[in-house]
Amino acid sequence: MTETLESSKLVGQPLKRKEDARLVTGETNWTDNIQLPGMLYMAILRSPMAHAKIDRIDTSRAAQMPGVVAVYTGADLAGLGIPCVWPVTDDMVGPTFPVLAADEVRFAGDAVAAVVADSRYRASDALEGIEVDYSPLPAVIDMTAALADGADLVHSDKGTNKCYYWEFTGGDYAAAKAKAEAEGGRVFHRQYIQQRLIPNAMEPRAVVCAPMAATGEITLWSSTQIPHVVRVLLALVTGIPEQKIRVIAPDVGGGFGSKLDLYREEVIAAVVAGKLGRPVKWTESRSEGYQATIHGRDQIQDIEVACTADGTLLGLKVDLVANMGAYLQIITPGIPLLGAFMYNSIYKFEALHFGCTGVFTTTTPTDAYRGAGRPEATYAIERLMDDLAAELGVDPLELRAKNWIKHEEFPFTTIAGLEYDSGNYEAATAKATELLDYSGLRAEQARRRESGDPVQLGIGVSTFTEMCGLAPSRILSALKYVAGGWESSTVRVLPTGKVEVVTGTSPHGQGHVTAWSQIAADALGVPFEDIEVIYGDTKMSPHGMDTYGSRSLVVGGIAVLHAAERVVEKARRIAAHQLECDPADLDFEGGVFKVRGTPGAEKAIQAVAFEAFTAHDLPEGVEPTLTADSTLDPNQFSYPHGTHLCAVEVDTETGAVVIRKYVAVDDIGNVVNPMIVEGQVHGGIAQGIAQALYEEAVYDADGNLVTGTMVDYLVPSAADLPHFTTDRTVTPATTNELGVKGVGEAGTIASTPAVVNAVVDALRHLGVHDMRMPCSPQTVWRTIQTAAGASSNSNGAQS
């Protein structure tokens, strides 16, 4: 081996994933694959009505049906509920969220009874044997109406549909506004709608719980992103001692925030399995999940900026109304607030005012969905920047460049109080405009407008940043979040020199096994293949805060690095002892400790591991085994950024939108595995485009989920999405040793406004200024018609 240390580093290489072998051969371990002796199957009876009193439940016929072992109602499971761990204000209204509704159902799909039978078919059959009498109550669907005086109430005992009002300010917005007005500037207001989305992880949720009566232990397998959090919450909710609970997230088929929760079915399965003394499995069907698994977004965004006449931004005011749904899942109220610090984005403001009103409606609870607050913030500010540029008659890129933080101004403390450590918006934007052929497409756009082409071209801009690496625990405390944001790792070099990396992150598609192996291999100087990554099981990986919020690498990956470095330091002491030198005289290269200046005097880390195992000859004060832990609480967030540009063709006759070209230049700092990064960006962009063009969860006035199956909720396929041109600029983060920033949500955050800006841009000359998402053909066509009608009316008035 003559390679230099640098070129042999694995971090930065597009290594193929270790995860794939089982996944491409079907040797998978999805929760629903688990079969245990004597296992029973649970099915949940769900409310067909959005809001009703339960007058009577009769389970007697169901209980007699073939194969049925037990039927439970709310009365049987009274006192068990889902806690909210993010009471965002002291006076937040937090209704009790029972695992089975006992007296009243509050959304279509609310859980009413649980049937346990000897097969999934018979459990399904028995649901039809349960009789429930409902007295309808008014559905509460419209958020604005729900907040009005005299509104029908979701929780009548609370006297209001308002969950909370939360406010955050930086600077003096009134002064900034007055300044703009005094200087002949503008105060520019827009209202945008964040439609409700259904996350649609491809694996529906599933739970298996196996009790062990003799010891009082339970093992709960769940398709969850957060086995560690589920364990703590299950202990708190059920009273089962925490040390008796083992939670395993086996193979998990995607999450996107929707499995970042404690769900009713997890609690019911745990309790029911214990009561029956037999393993119980519950598997959600897709259409059931559309009602029982959290939804995302669903906000009304009022955003106002004050700027000078030349477009220099002064003040930003944001008022949100955010839909909680009928109940609070574990972090429902905090989701919109994660955006509070991101509305100012990459721009310099003198003042910020943010207010958010959470409101209850008779709908499925909302919670984290990919980006969680940050896509909403980015959408509003980036839509507004395009609209403001049009209003000012300047190029949207020019307006952004005038206002963004210059690369030489980092570190920069924003008006929201966050210190952005690094960034280079100029570089990312320059690369993106070149890749798109921005000026060429602008010229084509002009030609098409000129010729009145029925197919118009639009270009949308989205320059974005986000905060990743959730989260410094002290900041979570300030936000009243009841847990910390640290992450944990243990690195063990086994007696034979092979390595186990234990991580508290809980991957479900992100490739942590591969990426953590790359980090550990570099730090330890051992082969990539020799490393096994252990995760997703509270017994094997006891400490963790799990995977969400683009946190895993920035927090968990750094914890792996620290633990590996501690292993090396321990090994160094053992090696120095045995090589009879000072630890400081050892160089560590490629997994071998070498006595500086003494060729041949060396010891490989694998050999040190065996010495640590035999413990025959360890230095004073060094304990046997070669293992070390790290629990890392990050000091700061990290701030990925980038510039996404989208060109669309809009068929003005039908309203159909086709993405002609999509360019994404992301700056996520250094990368561990560029192949994995690219995949994350692709998938993120796809989900953002899906919000822009295809997806919306729709309730009718009676509270029925109209988009109740995949037939009507339109998840795009390969045929509906374009090829993405992706590239990167590299401005390393200065807040962690690897210089990494996080990438899990960037694509989703950036892409939605890029697409909608493009659609609006294509039609602006026709009088179109906004387009409600999703920009479906009908919506686009109707918006064009309305704009045409408005302009012909005003023409008529003039003549």
Binding site: G26, D32, E203, D251, G253, R286, G679, V711, V715
Partner: protein, 161 residues
């Protein structure tokens, strides 16, 4: 509950079973035969996660009754490799055509079917050919690349034979 005797060859192995007429093929594979490599992603035959080959042609095993497969042959993801991985399996790994892996069995079998019909597809033909299989992780870009790579590999393999 009446049952119907059926004989189905799954991944080369013949299974004799008695099934309820209402039993879906995918439940027969998973619960009846313990072949759990084929997952279920929806209840409206939109997602394609449960795609298998029935006598060599792709079908959604959640929209086929087990009784309809009596006397027929089913290939699942677990029967795709033949000593070595199928070129489509190799290509999905090499091109990072999967993340969480839940759609992957169905996606690969749809790709096998596609390449059987059209050994040298364009990008547009690949995208259209996979229209019945949903993925939430990859944005499809690397899936398309994987199918392209598999096409090249399979043609080379065919030429070498």
């Amino acid at each position: 509950m009446s049952t119907v005797p059926i004989s189905v060859t799954v991944d080369g192995q013949r299974y004799e079973s008695d099934v309820e007429p209402r039993q879906l093929l995918v439940h027969h594979l998973r619960d009846g035969l313990g072949r759990v490599g084929t997952p279920i992603g929806c209840d409206t035959s939109n997602c394609g996660a449960c795609t298998v080959l029935l006598d060599g042609k792709s079908v959604k095993s959640c929209a086929v009754l087990a009784v309809q497969t009596d006397g027929r042959s089913v290939t699942t993801v677990q029967g795709l490799a033949n000593g070595t991985w199928h070129p489509v399996q190799q290509a999905f790994h090499a091109e990072h055509g999967l993340q969480c892996g839940y759609c992957t069995p169905g996606m690969m079998l749809a790709a096998v079917d596609l390449l059987t019909e059209n050994p040298n597809p364009t990008e547009a033909e690949i995208r259209d050919g996979l229209e019945g299989n949903l993925c939430r992780c990859t944005g499809y870009q690397n899936i398309v690349k994987a199918v392209q790579a598999a096409a090249v590999a399979m043609q080379a393999e065919g030429a070498a034979r």
